[in-house]
Symmetry: C2
Subunit: 371 residues, 2 copies
C-alpha cells in the first residue's frame, strides 16, 4: 500500500484520518497513517495551540496534519452576537419545542454555552492557520472548498501542502488552479458535507481531471481494506477517512461515563448503512448525518427550512450541546457516512489500521488470483 | 478477469450487459460478456419470441439472458383500460400542459399508442418467462425484487439461474431465501430503480450478507475497466452494466435519422455525472433518470406527486412516446446512471468491452506495483 504520496509524507500507509479528537489523531499517526486534527471546535486559538503541543509530544515524531474550516462565502467580520440577530424567532421556537418533545433538558446554569460558529469565521480560521504553522504540521486541509489564496501561499512558504475537499471534477479543477496540492474526492456516501456523485463515479473523474497536477484522496465509503483497494484501483493515491474513527477506543469527546461508549457511539454502533440522511440542518449546506429522532423532526411538515451557512450552525449550536448532555442514543446530532453500517464495535486505532492493511492485501491477492 | 461466475456461464469476462436492444445484447455476448435482453417493452409475447429467435441466430452460439420485470405488488389482473380509471384528471392535465410548454407535439393519428404498463403485469411477465424458456437462455433476471417463487422453480427446472436486484443487504438476504442464484447489488449511482446506498458501501455489505449462498454482481457506477477492478476488489464476482450500452453503435431504439445518434443519445453524450436525478416520475418508484426539462417540470411547485407503481408508468407512457418522436435532446425521459458523465462518444460494443478489459488489467497492474 505504498504510493508516491505516502513516500512524500514519510508515512507507512496512505491513510489520512480526519478526526476532531487529538487522541485519535495521534494514534493514527503512530499507527502509520496521517492523523488530521479537525480544528473547528477550537474557538480560542490558545486552546488549539495547547492541543497541538500535546500532539507534538504524543506522535513519536510521526507527521500529522490539521483541518481548518475556511468557507469561501461567510462573513469575515462579526461575532456571534451580531449574527444571532439574523436568526428568525420561528426557528428558535421550533428547536425549543422539538427538544422538549424529545425529552432533551435545557443546559444547566453553569454550562458554558458553545458559541458554535466562531471556528467557521475567516478571522478565527486564520488564527488557526497561524497557530498551526508554529507546529511541525505536515498538512493543512480545508473541509469546505479551496482555502483563500493567501493561506495557500502562507502554507507553501512553510513547505506545508494544502488539501481541499471536492464533490465534482469541476471543484477539483478549481482547487488545483488555486494552488491546492491534494484533492479529497468526497463521494455522496461520505459523512459531513457532501455532494450527489458517488465515489465509484466521482473518484476516477477527479483523478482524470487533475492529472499530474495534484494527488487525489478517496473519501466516502472507505472503512475497510477492500474499500482502500477499490479506491486505489480507481486511481486514488490514498484514502481520507473520517467516520470510522468515531468508534475508536481512543475517541473521548462528548459526554460519557468512564469506560463506556458515549450515547453518540452507542447510536453509531447499532446503525445500519440505511440510517443516515443528507440534510442542511447541521450547517446550512448538505451534509450527511446519522438519522435520529433529531433529524426526523426536521423532516416533519411543521419544521422550518434550514438557514444558510453560517446561521444554521449558530442556530443549532446550543441544541447540539443539550443533545450531547442528554446522552440519549435516539437523539443524536452527528455527521457520519454510510460506512456507519460497518462500525459495529469499539476498536483501538491500531486494530482499525491493521484491518485496513490486511484487508487491502487480501483484496489485491484476490485480484491477482483472478488474472 | 476470470471468476468462478464467468466459468460457470462459459463466458470470457464476468461482464453482464443489460439492454432493451437485441442488437446490443447480441454484440455483448459475441464480445465475451453476457448480453441480457430487457423484455419489458414487449407487450406481445410473440414479438418477444421473434426477437429471441433473432438472438439465437446472432450470438454465434454464445450464451445470453433475459430481464423480465416481475414486481411483487402490482395488480395481477386488469388491462390498461381498467387501470386507466385510477389516474386522476389533474395528473393528465399537468402532462398535457407540460408537454405543450416544452414544445412536444401530440402523436399523429396513425401512431400506435404504447400501452406502457402491460409488460409489468404478472400475466404478461409470466408469458415472457414461458416464451424465454423455449429458447436456450442462460439467465433470467428480475429488475424488481425477487421473482415469484413458482418462476424461480420453473427456471431451475430448466437449469436456468435467476438473478435479482438488491439495494440493501436485507433485500439480498431475502432474495437468497427465495432461491435467487445471483444478487445484483444496485448502488445509489445506478440508472433506473435504485436505493440510497452507494456501491462502495453496498457491494461489500451484500457480498458478506449472502456469503457462499449466491454470486454477487456490482451494478451502479461501472463504466470503465478501473471500476470493474474496484468492484472485484470489493468482492463482486462480476459486474452488471446498463447505462453504458445506451451509446453503443449497435443501439438503434428510438426515433432517429439513419447514421446519426438519436436525440436521447445526443443528450447522454453531453451530460455530466451531475446531470441525473433520482425521482419517482418514471415508474412510481425511485429511479435515476437523465435530468432534462421533462424531469425539471416535475420538480416545480405546480407538479402533482407521482402516482404509485404501476399507475405512474401508464400515466407517462404516451408522454414518453411523444417525447421520443419530438427528438429534442433537451426533453428526454431516460433512465441512466451517474456514469453518463463518461459516455461521451458512440462506440461499438466490442470497443467498450475491449476498454473494460484493458482498463481492468491496468488497474490490477497498478495495484501490484504499489505492493
Amino acid at each position: 500500500m505504498r504510493t508516491d504520496l505516502s513516500k512524500k509524507f514519510g508515512i507507512e500507509y496512505p491513510i489520512f484520518g480526519f478526526t476532531p479528537s487529538e487522541h485519535v489523531a495521534a494514534a493514527i499517526s503512530r499507527a502509520g497513517g496521517l492523523g488530521v486534527l479537525g480544528c473547528v471546535r477550537f474557538n480560542d486559538a490558545e486552546d488549539l495551540d495547547a492541543v497541538l503541543t500535546w500532539m507534538d509530544e504524543n506522535t513519536d515524531g510521526k507527521p500529522y496534519g490539521v483541518d481548518i474550516v475556511m468557507p469561501a462565502k461567510v462573513p469575515t467580520e462579526g461575532a456571534s452576537v451580531d449574527l444571532n440577530e439574523l436568526i428568525p424567532a420561528e426557528h428558535r421556537a421550533f428547536i425549543d419545542r422539538t427538544l422538549e418533545q424529545l425529552g432533551v433538558p435545557p443546559l444547566g446554569d453553569d454550562a458554558a454555552r458553545n458559541e458554535g460558529v466562531l471556528g467557521w469565521l475567516h478571522s478565527v480560521a486564520r488564527s488557526h492557520v497561524d497557530v498551526a504553522l508554529r507546529h511541525p504540521i505536515a498538512l493543512i486541509a480545508n473541509a469546505l472548498g479551496s482555502p483563500p489564496n493567501d493561506v495557500v501561499v502562507q502554507a507553501h512558504e512553510h513547505d506545508v501542502p494544502v488539501a481541499a475537499l471536492a464533490g465534482t471534477a469541476e471543484h477539483a479543477r478549481r482547487h488545483v488552479e488555486n494552488g491546492v496540492d491534494i484533492v479529497i474526492a468526497q463521494g455522496y456516501e461520505a459523512g459531513g458535507h457532501t455532494g450527489e456523485i458517488a465515489s465509484m463515479v466521482l473518484l476516477p473523474e477527479i483523478v482524470d481531471a487533475v492529472g499530474e497536477r495534484a494527488s487525489v484522496l478517496a473519501a466516502g465509503g472507505i472503512g475497510s481494506g477492500r474499500q482502500v483497494a477499490a479506491a486505489l484501483a480507481l486511481g486514488a493515491h490514498g484514502v481520507w477517512m473520517g467516520s470510522t474513527w468515531l468508534t475508536a477506543a481512543e475517541y473521548r469527546l462528548g459526554a460519557r461515563h468512564e469506560g463506556k461508549p458515549s450515547a453518540m457511539q452507542e447510536a453509531l454502533l447499532t446503525a445500519t448503512s440505511s440510517d443516515t440522511v443528507r440534510t442542511r440542518i447541521y450547517s446550512g449546506k448538505p451534509a450527511r448525518l446519522l438519522r435520529t429522532k433529531w433529524t426526523d423532526a426536521w423532516d416533519k411538515p411543521d419544521a422550518p427550512n434550514p438557514l444558510p451557512m453560517p446561521l444554521q450552525n449558530i442556530l443549532v449550536s446550543e441544541a447540539h450541546q443539550r443533545i450531547n448532555e442528554a446522552e440519549n442514543p435516539e437523539v443524536v446530532a452527528m455527521p457520519v457516512g454510510q460506512i456507519v453500517g460497518r462500525m459495529n464495535q469499539i476498536l483501538p486505532v491500531a486494530d482499525i489500521v491493521a484491518e485496513l492493511v490486511a484487508g487491502y492485501e487480501s483484496a489485491v491477492d484476490r485480484l491477482v488470483e483472478l488474472r
